[in-house]
Symmetry: C2
Subunit: 352 residues, 2 copies
């Protein structure tokens, strides 16, 4: 259990790191960010910021030695960097969680070893692989780079076999997978926090609505029946236990006749931002409590219906207007540059 005033290191300086740092302050902890970019959302609130690259071994070592514990807010940390951190500090979740989720092919294979359902998938290393996979998967199907994709980037929806060359070029001919199309009614996620001793708390599920590959809206509760909720929790627990996971974990799911795993995020997740005002203990606070060896908080919902919307691009300028409505909680991540489609903030509404 971490002592009073301990320093929590967070790898990655985006809004997830920012909200983790703010959660850490409630309990009197200090925060240090490791992030190559300056003036990022998290470093705008953290005590200190090591502004260095992920191949800077000295800085990584210094960071890990400065901190009493280390966590991360994004999964595309080079494994070599994560291992250097682990040599010098406790890293929660561990580097195995990163290894198994930062490569889509490795992730899909891991899901299969857990005896869970995911989209049919094929390994793609060449145009020939791609053409063959399209035949097996059928169309439409999705070409995704194995590494570094997020928020719809590094993906190409293939509508006919003629799209193959264009798709292959579009993703830079990088190692990839083809995912077969999964028929579903809606998308949800299972968010949970797992403690060092293995205890798990689950969050209520949200219905997650995407546009152009980016999460747009969450509606809580999701239209799941009890059996489906139990299944979603079973999936989350299975993955968390297999990883010996510590902290908050999110698994994105397709809901149709079956519940099918889409992606695993070994971190706090956009589809859980509503938990800040919407549940008894947010995903961020429980993540901090878990990695610090403190008891987990309960996760009951605070209103019968809750909505979260991302504020993209210049939607961030609508905050003064949003604040006119009751039970409305806009968040601004402090990003200087407004770009179309960029996640600038979010707003949660409790409908009481």
């Amino acid at each position: 259990m971490l002592k009073r005033g301990a320093k929590i290191g967070i790898i990655g300086g985006g809004q997830l790191g920012r909200m983790l740092a703010l959660a850490a302050y409630n309990l009197g902890f200090k925060t240090e960010i490791f992030e190559p970019q300056n003036n990022c959302p998290a470093s705008l609130v953290s005590n200190t910021h090591i502004c260095a690259d992920y191949d800077d071994i000295n800085s990584l070592t210094e960071f890990a030695q400065n901190c009493d514990i280390v966590t991360f807010e994004f999964e595309n940390i080079p494994i070599k960097a994560a291992r250097i951190i682990e040599e010098n500090a406790n890293l929660y979740p561990n580097s195995k969680s990163l290894e198994l989720t930062q490569d889509r092919l490795v992730e899909k294979n891991f899901i299969k070893t857990c005896n869970l359902e995911c989209a049919p998938f094929f390994e793609i290393n060449s145009l020939e692989d791609l053409q063959s996979a399209i035949t097996k998967a059928g169309t439409p199907c999705i070409l995704k780079t194995r590494r570094m994709g997020y928020d719809g980037k590094g993906q190409f929806v293939i509508k006919t076999p003629d799209d193959a060359q264009k798709a292959w070029d579009e993703i830079g001919q990088n190692p990839a997978i083809i995912e077969g199309f999964v028929k579903f009614d809606f998308e949800t996620s299972i968010i949970l926090t797992r403690a060092i001793d293995g205890q798990i708390v689950f969050y209520p599920n949200s219905q997650n609505i995407h546009e152009n590959g980016i999460l747009r809206t969450c509606i809580v509760p999701a239209p799941l029946n009890e059996k489906q909720i139990a299944k979603a929790q079973e999936i989350g627990a299975k993955i968390a236990n297999e990883l010996n996971y510590v902290g908050t974990l999110a698994v994105e799911l397709f809901v149709g006749d079956e519940i099918v795993v889409n992606e695993i995020a070994p971190r706090v997740h956009n589809s859980g931002h509503w938990t800040i005002e919407g549940t008894a203990t947010s995903q961020f606070i429980n993540h901090i409590r878990a990695i610090c060896g403190l008891p987990l908080g309960n996760t009951e919902i605070c209103a019968p219906k809750i909505e979260m919307q991302n504020l993209l691009g210049d939607e961030i300028l609508s905050i003064p207007e949003l604040l006119k409505s009751p039970n409305t909680y806009p968040h601004d991540y402090g990003k200087n540059e407004i770009k179309a489609g960029r996640k600038m903030g979010h707003v949660t509404r409790l409908i009481k």
Copy 2:
């Protein structure tokens, strides 16, 4: 209305400043603290900290010029310093609120000009004044320094006229007042936020229980009937309007056959910490919204019953134990040194 990413200056670096800074970060603002002490609760979370004394004109000027707006978290700022700030930035609340509340005699006279009830009081400049006042006020009565007292410091309860010399020496023979004893059933406070345009929102009242002059426990709701609540709100509004106040204001009240004003605090207040988890918009967030020219948030209560307890001295070490209970929200202010009776944190429980 303050622009995105603006910098809010907070004079004073204690836990109230810390919680104001954390509130400011939700909306993407930056924070700078002006505080003579280093490593204080607020500077442990703020972006920057000007560590200088209140007579350091250059530092005060630099601070005010750095910030887009300035507020404060404690009222004993030398008026000269407040005026220097006001020459260089918008100060909310204004320096008049400081002037009228940092001297107990001035404050009592102000309360009378508002046609409000307060304890009978007498100006004390000498032992002779004191002896005469004790005769008029009766015993018990309380000797309080006019300036710089808080949390029971700079006070002496006079039980018999023989206490006069000891009391006078105990408070360092400083300019003082005698307050006559007020018979009351319990103590409460009225906390409100007033916007730049004069709109006011009120918070539910807490019953405030003190020990040794320090607030120990708040119980919400306070056992006030509707008429008493209306009276308390009338008192708060009267004072806020007279001061043309902007921000969160707290007025401590004695509740008996009448409601009598005890003290005015031109700032967020210990008896309002429970509002963080206990109402729709905390006293801290509404203070930030008010001074930034943003709409005020609603203040409905989130549970039928709420308790707040201060964590004094080594009680702060009980946080891991407290976290085992549901709907329990401990806060640690990050103060390094544990001293008996020192406000180290607080814990709020929502009883659902």
